[in-house]
Every structure is written in structure tokens, then in C-alpha cells.
């Protein structure tokens, strides 16, 4: 087991190193000079050179890569070119929007999906099953940015129930912030809920068909109790897996929604970083996200291996 963990850890380290190389190279070849973006069209050549020096862009490429890598290992993610504050500070500010939004969207989608999937499975083939499945097909097909546009135009512009977007900041009060996150969370939750409801349904049907459930049924347990007591718990495993996958998607994948609702989240931070050629922000934040996903995968692998020794192959 120790050997397995060590090997997997080596794989993890190599993956991270490769990822950092890919990210750095991509940003190195992106055309556009951060200094000239900052100083605009009237900047003189020597001014540009002075700015590049100030940003440390005059250093050779390898040296910048190594100092970036070294910095990250010690928790120093560099200083944003445009904002002139440490990247870690920017990330901390943004993550308190992206994270609650992702959690909010997941809660919403779970609250919708689990009962919907349950109803569909327990009334398989009937009208309610049909309705749930039809709706979820539609929910998967709707682009979330389009749905967001429609939500804004109805609830913010026409009815004026909600403000059209933006984020007041947590110091303005919890409920005001939740209100600001509600429409974006709904827009994000719709496709997720649809997928989840379908997983819930098929996973329930699968467990229901398994032998031990049949046994339980034969023993005389009522249909209702069978569903609730046995199937539900087992059906939750794939559902939880999907929720986990969706969560990592939601953290960085909400970028278009963040744009529609002008929420200053992580996705928009990277997006702005790309357009403003704030390369250090893009590098560090993308690396951070990749790091998080790879680490979660690593932990999941270890957990599986602990449970099931057959999986312990390097």
C-alpha cells in the first residue's frame, strides 16, 4: 500500500510539473505584450522597456519559469501586472464568490434532481416519469448563458425583483449576497439538475433490479420501503460521483454566467487576465485549479485503493 501511494504521488508530481510547463508555454506564446497593453498607443519605446523591467519581463524565459515555479512552492503566486497586488489576494477575494456560487448551484440542483429522479424511477413509464425525463432532456439542451439572459430580462428588467447582477460583498449581509447569487445559481443549476435527475433515475432503476433488492422484496418488504431503505442509499453513490465532478466544473466553468451577471468570480478573473495580458494571474490561477483537480483525483484514487485492494496497482 505504501508503495502504491508513493508511486501515485510521483505520478501526481510529474503531472503537476507537466501541467505547469504546458501553462507557462501557452502563456509565453500568447501574442501581445503586457507592458504595451498597459501603456497604450502613445507609449515610447523606452517607457515600454522600463515597464517590462519593472514587471520582470526582461528576464530570460527559463529563469522566469523557474522563479514562478519556485514561488508557487513557497506559496508566493506573484504580483498581478495590472492590479499590482499579490495574486493570492485576488484569488482569495474571488474564491469567496465562486465557491458559494458553486455550492449554492449544487444545493439547488440536488434539491431538484433527487426528488425528480426518485419520482421518475418509482413511477417508471407513467406520465410523471415522462414529464420528468422530457423536462430534463430540455434542461440539458438549453445553453446556460441563454437561460441566464432570459432570466435577467424577465426577473431583473421586466419585474425588477432582483438586481441585474454584481456582487455587493459579504460585509453587506448574508441575505443580500444570497439574493445576488440566486439568478446565477439557477442558471447554473438547470443543466446540472437535469443531468443529475437522469443519473438518479437510472441508478435507482439499476439498484432496484439487483438481486438483493429482489430478495428483500421477496421477503415481503413493501415496495415503498424497498425503494427508500435499500435502493436509495446505493443509488446515491453514482449521484455523489457526478456531484463531485460537477463541483469542480462549477468552480471554473461558471465564467460565462459570471460575465452575464458581472460577478467578480475566479472564471472572470482568468478571462480578464487573458484579455489584459496579466499573464502571471492567468498562469497562477489556472495552475491552482489544475492542482486542485489533480489532488482531488489523487485522494479519490487512494481512497478507492484503501477500500478495494485489487485497485492497488501502480
Amino acid at each position: 500500500m505504501v508503495r502504491y501511494i508513493v508511486t501515485r504521488f510521483c505520478v501526481l508530481s510529474v503531472s503537476l510539473l507537466v501541467a505547469s510547463g504546458i501553462i507557462f508555454t501557452m502563456l509565453e506564446v500568447v501574442p501581445g505584450d503586457p507592458a504595451s497593453f498597459m501603456l497604450g498607443i502613445n507609449a515610447e519605446a523606452d517607457t515600454l522597456a522600463a515597464m517590462r523591467r519593472e514587471l520582470g519581463l526582461d528576464q530570460p524565459m527559463l529563469q522566469r519559469y523557474l522563479s514562478w515555479l519556485g514561488g508557487m512552492l513557497t506559496g508566493d503566486f506573484g504580483i498581478s501586472y495590472t492590479y499590482r497586488v499579490p495574486v493570492s489576494e485576488l484569488v482569495m477575494a474571488r474564491i469567496w464568490i465562486s465557491l458559494p456560487l458553486a455550492i449554492f448551484a449544487l444545493i439547488l440542483s440536488t434539491l431538484i434532481a433527487v426528488p425528480a429522479g426518485l419520482i421518475a424511477a418509482s413511477r417508471r413509464g407513467r406520465v410523471s416519469d415522462w414529464t420528468v425525463m422530457g423536462t430534463t432532456q430540455l434542461g440539458i439542451a438549453i445553453p446556460n448563458f441563454w437561460f441566464a439572459m432570459i432570466l435577467v430580462s424577465i426577473f431583473a428588467i421586466k419585474l425588477r425583483w432582483f438586481s441585474a447582477g454584481g456582487f455587493p460583498g459579504w460585509d453587506q449581509g448574508f441575505w443580500i449576497c444570497m439574493q445576488a447569487l440566486l439568478l446565477p445559481a439557477i442558471a447554473l443549476a438547470l443543466p446540472q439538475a437535469s443531468i443529475l435527475a437522469r443519473v438518479m433515475r437510472s441508478s435507482l432503476l439499476e439498484t432496484l433490479s439487483q438481486d438483493y433488492i429482489r430478495t428483500a422484496r421477496a421477503k415481503g418488504l413493501s415496495q415503498r420501503r424497498t425503494v427508500w431503505a435499500h435502493a436509495f442509499r446505493n443509488a446515491l453513490i453514482p449521484v455523489l460521483t457526478i456531484i463531485g465532478l460537477q463541483f469542480s466544473f462549477l468552480i471554473a466553468g461558471a465564467i460565462i454566467i459570471e460575465n452575464v451577471f458581472f460577478l467578480p468570480g475566479l472564471g472572470r478573473l482568468i478571462f480578464q487576465g487573458i484579455t489584459q495580458r496579466d499573464l502571471i494571474v492567468v498562469e497562477s490561477v489556472v495552475m491552482l485549479l489544475v492542482f486542485a483537480v489533480i489532488c482531488v483525483n489523487f485522494l479519490v484514487d487512494i481512497a478507492y485503493a484503501l477500500v478495494d485492494p485489487r485497485l492497488r496497482r501502480p
Partner: protein
Amino acid sequence: MAKHDKSGLGKSASGFKSPTSLWIGGALTSIFVVAALVSFLWTPYSVEALNIGAKLQAPSGTHLFGTDHFGRDIFSMIMVGARVSIAVAIVAVGIGILVGVPLGLLAASRQNSFIDDLVMRSNDLVFAFPSLLIAILITAIFGTSALNAIIAIGIFNIPVFARVTRGSALPIWTLDFILAARVAGKSGLRISLEHILPNILNILIVQGTIQFSLGILAEAGLSYVGLGAQPPTPSWGRMLADSQTMISFAPHLAIFPGVAIIATVLGLNLMGDGLRDLLDPKLRRVR
């Protein structure tokens, strides 16, 4: 591979009877495929000629879906936009299949070898990158064009196909007739091509349909943020982006392209479900 429905349940993943969803999905999809094909020969109006005087007209007999802010006919733009969406999605899925399937086959043929590990770890690595942001980066590097949108979407299709291929190929490698072929001295490559591939084709077709519909959505998202096909070629995503500021007084600008995207994706998904039930009842739809 035994093909019996162990459960007797879950015959239809979509909730519809499989022929029904196949038919509905097929019909919806064909509408857009036909529209795309016809658009090469004919559209009601030119999508490149602007007529500012006739801008923002509501749907009517002359302009079935109305006109946009430049006075272009939205119906015609949707026809040509279908062409772009479908082409981008098909080629992107094609890239995924052409690169991903051989990788998956290779990994499966040498299970637990270094190559297998390399392929699977690389897959994990690609999955770990936030896809939309990488797509934006790719277009920032190579410029905005339909081709680069294809590449950006295609890259993220590769690990999907590699994983599905490997996953479905592995159980087949343990079957008797493969052992027989091995004993007969056939190479891993030949076995993969002659025996494995035909047996997993069904799964690949179903996965292809799903990826196709995801590709349509991805293209819409990319061109919505301005990274897909460049003007004057219309694209659904960009039509939506252009409509945004006018949605309050000309909602038809947002509704028709939106419905086109939804209908195409819906059609493909229903078709995928139908195909799945038809080709292999044992498969469960998990997305």
C-alpha cells in the same frame, strides 16, 4: 459479448420508448442537417448583404423570423448558422475519435504497461484543465476562427474517446476468442483492429452522438464569447451575443437562435438515447 438485458428494467434511458425517441430525435436533427445542406444552394435572403433600413423587423410573412440589427434575415442566418455549428461539432468529434480511439485501443492492448499509464495519466491531465478557459487561451494564441474553435473543442474530446475506448475494450480482451487469436500469433494491433474495434463500435457511435451534441453547445458558448466563426459568417452563438442588448425591445433576436440550439441538441440527445437502446440495451445512460 453476451447481450441480454439482465435487469429487464431501464429499457429506455430517455423515458420514451426507444423508437419514439430515435424518431423524434432523428427528425429534429435532420431538420437542421437539411437546413444546413440547403443553405449551400439557397437561402431566402443573402446573409452577407446588409439592409440597415429594414433592421429589427418583427417576424412576418416576408421575414419568417424577422430581421436583425443590420436588417439581415434571421431565418437565413439560422440556416447558415446550422452549417457552422454542425461542421464545427462534427470535425471536433472527428478529432476526438481519430486521436482518442487509437490511444484507447493502444492502452487497452497493453494493459498496465507504461504506455497504458501514460495515456491514462495524460487523459487525467487534460481533464484537469478548465476547458473553456483553455479554449479562450487557444484562440488568444492562434487567433479567432472557426478552425481554432474546432481545435479547442476537439482537444477535449480526445480523452473522452480514449477513456471510453479503453474502458469498453478491456473486458473484450479477456474473452476466449481474443485468447485464441493471440495464440494464433496475431499482433496486438491486428487484434485491436479486427476484433476489438468492431465489438465496441456501438458504444463509440453512441458516445459520438453525445459528444456531437456537447460540441454544438460548446461551439455556441465559444462563439457567444466571440471566439467562433468570424463575421460575416453567421453563427448561433454570436447571434445570441449580438441580440443581448436588444432583447428588451426585439426579443425575437434572442429567441430563434436559442431555440435552434436547443432543438439541435435535444434532437441529438434523443437520437443518442434511441441509438443506445437500439444498439445495446445493456448500456446505461450516464452523463
